[in-house]
Each structure stands twice: as structure tokens, then as C-alpha cells.
Amino acid sequence: MTPSAGAALSSEGLGFVYPDGTRALTGIDLLVPAGIRLAIVGQNGSGKSTLVRHFNGLLRATEGRVLVGGEEVSRRHVAELAQQVGIAFQNPDRQIFAGSVRSEVAFGPRNLGLRGEELESAVKSALEAVRLGGEGETNPYDLGYSRRKLLTIASVLAMRTPIVVLDEPTTGQDLRGVRTIEGIVATLAAEGRTVIAVSHDLRFVAETFERVVVMRQGTIVLDGTPSEVFAEANWATLRSTNLEPPYAARLGARLGLGSTPTEESLVSALSAGT
């Protein structure tokens, strides 16, 4: 299996109600073109994680539908969808089970049918991407939290799915860890794969993703480029869900430079002004 190009993903009128009657999602219309870098933001309980669990069939829409690569997911097994959508979940300790870093990473691609040489190279490149190349034989639980987290990301990268979903990838990472994750997103995008991240870290989001979806109480309240979403006109909406616009955006607005959600956009707006 060669690294496949990205796949498109969409939802139409997606709603979800838990069996106990709690409503988690309402009328989610989302169109994610293949190969895009999309971040989903919102405070805890806004429905971000519930939404991404619909992308690989772990949760089934109670209203509307979800399409992956143009095909409806409702009747397909999770194990089958795993060939198209890989999700690295938030808590590494609810996922890691193998006795060594290498066999942990091999679990996913092996389930997808990779063997021998192909499996080895998938595992190797995934481990190198998260800078755990030298830790193949290490017991995962001898790694610290942030490296266990990187391990779960490698476990999903090794599956070489057209769509990669990362749930809170930067939690607990230091500067180097965040840089590593930014590098992974860039590499995936360069390969034409679709990257979706759920994150609280708005600076990371603004600097790394080309599109941002903001959720509040199970609905999408903003959807656009970082420059659109973090524009001053939307701050009230952001703050209504306890999100503070990135500092670069706040400073840009204060200096009347327009919407400057990233360091780069602020610097260029400043130099254009002088």
C-alpha cells in the first residue's frame, strides 16, 4: 500500500442523541475537501470529539448522514472505515497495550493487512516522524506522558490512511513536541492527505491549519480560514464559547491592521504599514 492521497469527508444535517437522551450534535453541515488541513475548536462538551467519532463509524448519526470518500458510512464496519480514517484519541493510556513501541505501532497497519517489508517500513517511518525511531524495543509505559501521546499519533500514521484525525495532539507537549506535531501536519498535507485536528490551542490552530471550524453546544458557529474566523467581528462568538483569539490577532486588531491571526501575518501587516 502506498501512501494514498487524501479523501473528502462531509456531513449533511448530522445530528446525534445519546441513548440516554442527551443531545450532542445538531444539524452539522460540513464539507471537508480532500487534502485540506482542518482544525475543530470549541470548549469541552461542545461536541468536537463526538463529531469526529462519526467519521469512522464509532458513533452512528441519529439524524442526517456522513460521507467518507463520497460513500455513506452508516452501513460500513468500523474496521473497514479504518482503512480510510485513522483517529488518534486524546488519552494515550486508553489505547496503548503492546509490550513494545514497535508492536504498538504495527497493530493498526497489521489489522489493515500490511505484512513483511511493507509493514516494517510503515512502522519505521511513523516512528521517525514522531522522533521515536530509537525506541522501537522500549516498553511504551517507560516513556513519559508526552512521548506516549506521540506514540499514539505514530500508531495512526503507520496506517497511512487518506484521512488522519488528531484529537488534542498538543496536550502536555513541550515546545519540541509541538514542533514535531506541526511537522507531521505539514508532511501529511504535502502528501495530499486530509488532516483534521481537534484542539484547544488556538495559536497552534492558527499557525498550522488552513481552515477552522468553531463548535458550541453541538453546532457549528464559525467556519472559515483562520483569518476569517479570528477576525475581530467574530470575537464575541469565540468568547461565547470561552475561546480567546490568539495574541497576534488581538494585537493586529488593536493596531488597526485587520485580521492577523498568525505571527507571519502580523509581521507582514506591520512591515506593509511602515
Binding site: Q43, G144, D174, H200, Y247
Partner: protein
């Protein structure tokens, strides 16, 4: 009067290498000292040692001297140290006792352990809840709180022992922006209301910049830099040390690097 580490080294039981080497650090009552540095550099170990858990509870080998207001913790009991130094960890739920039905009883857990008279237990429990402004949570099930709320309850549970010092190991790392804001406000309140000296480990340097007067950078088991927060967070080598500079510093550098002018009033 201070929580003081002098020439402290520490090695975990069963480990062949030192997790801390020659650490000198002091926290005075009422001051907030920040700690940052790359992961696996010894920040959490520093917290365990300052809180007495290493070696009193988890074993291992301590060198040098850890003292609280002049008296060494070596040979003391953990429950004695607990009344002088409170410690808070990253994971909010994992530090609740998971054994009582309400937040109020969760906070009362510590004072009850000390066999204090009932009215003293009640007074301390309300005192801790009110110090963090969370008395309205008292009837809630501790297992059904948001991450930020659970972290505040964990902090109140520690405050109920009325420690003179607090040690906080990345208290906001598992929280969303709202939870982070709650905890940061609670810390500022706790420092003001209780007068406790606080040691706080954080990656979020913006938060450290707001809370701390002094800062230590820990890497490879050593304190590699120590000084005022403003100086430390402005160090040009911060990136190489694995620490992400506060947003204001980062932007100022980006602007100046392209030959632009940075107006100090922008921070």
C-alpha cells in the same frame, strides 16, 4: 521561613540514573515561583521531592537537604509534611479519592484523616471551598465535574490541610481554555487569600508570566537558569531549552527579526 531545597539530588528506586542533580531552590511564603523546561527534564520529580512524596511515599534515594521552615523533611512522615506542603497533579480525576458521593466530603477527606474535631473539619472544608469560590459545587458528585472544576476541587482538598506551601505539577495541562482560566484565577486567589508560597510547573509561559515573580528552568535534572520571570522569559535561548516563549516575547522577536519596530506598549 521558606520551603528550601539545598544541593538536592534524587534517584528513583530501581533507576540507574539521577532524575535530579544538585538542585538549589527556595520558595518564600506568599511568593509564586514558576518552573518550566522540556519534558522528561525533571520538573515532575522536582515537585515530588518538594512535596516530600519522593522519597517518603515512593522510595528512592535523596541526597542534599529538603527543609520546611527550617526543619528537614528527611525522616518525617508524609502526613506531617502534607500539613506543611500541599501538592497538586496534572490529572484532575486521578487525585480525587473516588470514595465519597459529594464534593464537600471530598474536601473534608484530608481534615478527617487528621482526626480533627468535627467543627474544625467543617470550618476548614468551607474555608477551602470559599477560598476558591466553589462553595456552590459542594453537593455535586466529584466524578461528574468538568476537568477544570475537578481540578479546583482537588486544589481545595489540598488547601483544607492548610499548608504553608503549595506545589503544582502542570495543573492546567489537561484542561481546556476555560478550565485553565478557572485554575489560573484560583491560584491567584489561593496565593492572596492563604498567603501560601507556591511552586508551579507549567508549559504555558503566558500563564507563568502573569502569576510568577521568579522562575527556574529545569533541564536534564538540573536548574539551568533561575531569576526573575521577566528576565527568564525574555532569554534568547529559551527555544533551545524547549520552552515556548510567551506570545508577547515571541511576537516582539518576530517583528524585530524583520527589522520592524516593537512598541513596548503593545504587550
Amino acid at each position: 521561613m521558606s520551603l528550601r531545597l539545598e544541593g538536592v539530588g534524587y534517584r528513583y528506586a530501581g533507576s540507574a540514573t539521577d532524575a535530579l542533580i544538585d538542585v538549589d531552590l527556595a520558595i518564600e511564603p506568599g511568593e509564586v515561583v514558576g518552573v518550566c523546561g522540556p519534558n522528561a527534564g525533571g520538573k515532575s520529580t522536582l515537585c515530588l521531592v518538594a512535596g516530600g512524596l519522593a522519597p517518603l511515599t515512593i522510595g528512592g534515594q535523596l541526597r542534599g537537604r529538603v527543609s520546611i521552615d527550617g526543619s528537614a523533611t528527611a525522616g518525617a512522615k508524609q502526613y506531617e509534611v502534607a500539613q506543611r506542603v500541599g501538592i497538586l497533579f496534572q490529572e484532575p480525576q486521578a487525585q480525587l479519592s473516588d470514595s465519597v458521593p459529594t464534593v464537600w466530603e471530598e474536601v473534608a477527606f484530608g481534615p478527617r484523616n487528621l482526626s480533627l474535631p468535627l467543627d474544625e473539619v467543617v470550618a476548614r472544608t468551607w474555608g477551602a471551598l470559599e477560598a476558591l469560590d466553589i462553595a456552590d459545587l459542594c453537593e455535586r458528585d466529584p466524578g461528574r465535574l468538568s476537568g477544570g472544576q475537578a481540578q479546583l476541587v482537588a486544589l481545595a482538598s489540598v488547601l483544607a490541610l492548610q499548608p504553608a506551601y503549595l506545589v503544582l505539577d502542570e495543573p492546567t495541562s489537561q484542561l481546556d481554555p476555560e478550565g485553565t482560566r478557572l485554575v489560573a484565577e484560583a491560584l491567584a486567589r489561593a496565593a492572596a487569600v492563604t498567603g501560601a508560597g507556591i511552586l508551579v510547573v507549567e508549559h504555558k509561559t503566558d500563564l507563568l508570566a502573569r502569576l510568577c515573580a521568579r522562575l527556574a528552568i529545569v533541564e536534564a535534572g538540573r536548574i539551568v537558569k533561575q531569576g526573575t520571570a521577566v528576565t527568564m522569559l525574555g532569554l534568547p535561548e529559551l527555544d533551545e531549552l524547549g520552552v515556548s516563549p510567551p506570545e508577547t516575547v515571541r511576537l516582539r522577536r518576530a517583528v524585530e527579526a524583520t527589522g520592524g519596530h516593537w512598541d513596548p506598549s503593545w504587550t
